[in-house]
């Protein structure tokens, strides 16, 4: 076995740790991406009965972004099993209670229901901010690229950057500054 093949074999069968920054990302589109790493679908040896999934650490889940007014339109349903035990929770209410729950449910629901799903979820580590325990962080060897760029606020630019940016229009001479 050549040196390259040996490393390739080691990399294939090892559990690799990935990190993903969820700030300003859609949790449902991110879930489709993360589930491939969690289930090991990005590996050539993938098979549903082959336990070859990786670990994924997701940071900044409190800063996930939803399009438009989906925070108040998306509803999570729960039933206790008793009569009158149904409850409907809006996405923003769930996010207020637990800032990792929207992301967790998105990944859980993105996977097909099977006996492996609960064990796959154990390899997902969610954190509302960037404070990750060091014993987890030292395992990380890969960063998953974000799906959409994080938008930069206008007050985060320097003053001269804003002033010297190419201008499309000039204000008319009669314009009164406010």
């Amino acid at each position: 076995m050549s040196q390259l093949k040996r490393v390739q074999q080691w990399a294939t069968f090892a559990r690799v740790w990935h990190i993903y920054d969820a700030a300003w990302q859609n949790p449902f589109q991110s879930a489709e991406l993360l589930k491939k790493y969690l289930m090991g679908m990005h590996k050539p040896i993938y098979h549903p009965m082959n336990d070859c999934g990786d670990h994924v650490i997701v940071i900044n889940t409190a800063d996930v972004a939803l399009p438009g007014d989906e925070w108040k339109k998306r509803v999570y349903f729960h039933h206790t099993g008793y009569p009158g035990g149904a409850s409907w929770t809006l996405a923003w209410e769930l996010h207020k209670k637990n800032p990792t729950m929207v992301m967790k449910k998105a990944v859980y629901n993105s996977m097909d229901r099977s006996l492996q799903r609960r064990y796959t979820m154990e390899r997902l580590h969610l954190y509302p901010d960037a404070n990750v325990p060091l014993n987890l962080l030292e395992n990380v060897s890969n960063q998953i690229k974000q799906l959409r760029p994080k938008p930069k606020r206008l007050d985060e630019y320097k003053e001269e950057e804003v002033r010297e940016f190419p201008k499309l229009i000039d204000l008319p001479k009669s314009y009164i500054v406010e």
């Binding site: 700030a23 300003w24 859609n26 800063d63 996930v64 972004a65 939803l66 399009p67 438009g68 007014d69 989906e70 925070w71 108040k72 809006l90 996405a91 923003w92 996010h95 959409r148 760029p149 938008p151 930069k152 606020r153 206008l154 007050d155 630019y157 950057e161 804003v162 002033r163 010297e164 940016f165 190419p166 201008k167 499309l168 229009i169 000039d170 204000l171 008319p172 001479k173 009669s174 314009y175 009164i176 500054v177 406010e178």
Partner: protein, 155 residues
């Protein structure tokens, strides 16, 4: 009776004509009013200022088109450096007589301005009495959101 009415109308017209020169702002084309108080004397002077944009203006290759159409840019609501050129200091969109855009671009850009404001991308361009920090908003509005430009409906 008619002559009487005409007299009254003329009188009213004359009164308005007299008061018209009192409106200093648009007629005198003043950009900034400066007030200076020295030795119990209040001096109010108008000064025409440079906008500061002259050296950075893009050259319009097609002068028959409006600046946005001529630039050929696909502007998104996250392009705050472009959108802030069309905005007041209080966060609203400037009217078309000042921006000089075509009807379609004006509507498109003003939709983008609304989107950027809702997403909290320009928190310091706000009225003085408002919450500048988007995290201080109530309910679902405090959480991060983004928008699709394809949802803007213009003819």
């Amino acid at each position: 009776m008619n002559t009487l009415l005409k007299c009254v109308q003329n009188f009213r017209f004359n009164v308005f004509k007299q008061t018209k020169h009192l409106s200093i702002y648009p007629a005198l084309r003043v950009k900034e009013i400066q007030e200076k108080e020295t030795n119990n004397e209040l001096v109010i002077s108008g000064k025409i200022l440079e906008s500061g944009r002259e050296p950075y203006l893009l050259k319009n290759e097609h002068p028959e088109a409006c600046p946005v159409c001529a630039s050929g840019l696909q502007i998104k609501h996250t392009d705050v450096l472009i959108l802030s050129q069309f905005m007041r200091s209080t966060g609203g969109m400037l009217p078309r007589r000042i921006t000089g855009l075509c009807r379609r671009s004006q509507k498109y850009i003003s939709s983008l301005v609304i989107m950027a404001n809702k997403a909290g991308l320009m928190p310091h361009l706000k009225p003085a009495n408002s919450h500048k920090d988007p995290k201080m908003r109530r309910g679902w509005k405090k959480y991060n959101k983004y928008f699709y430009e394809s949802t803007i409906k213009i003819k």
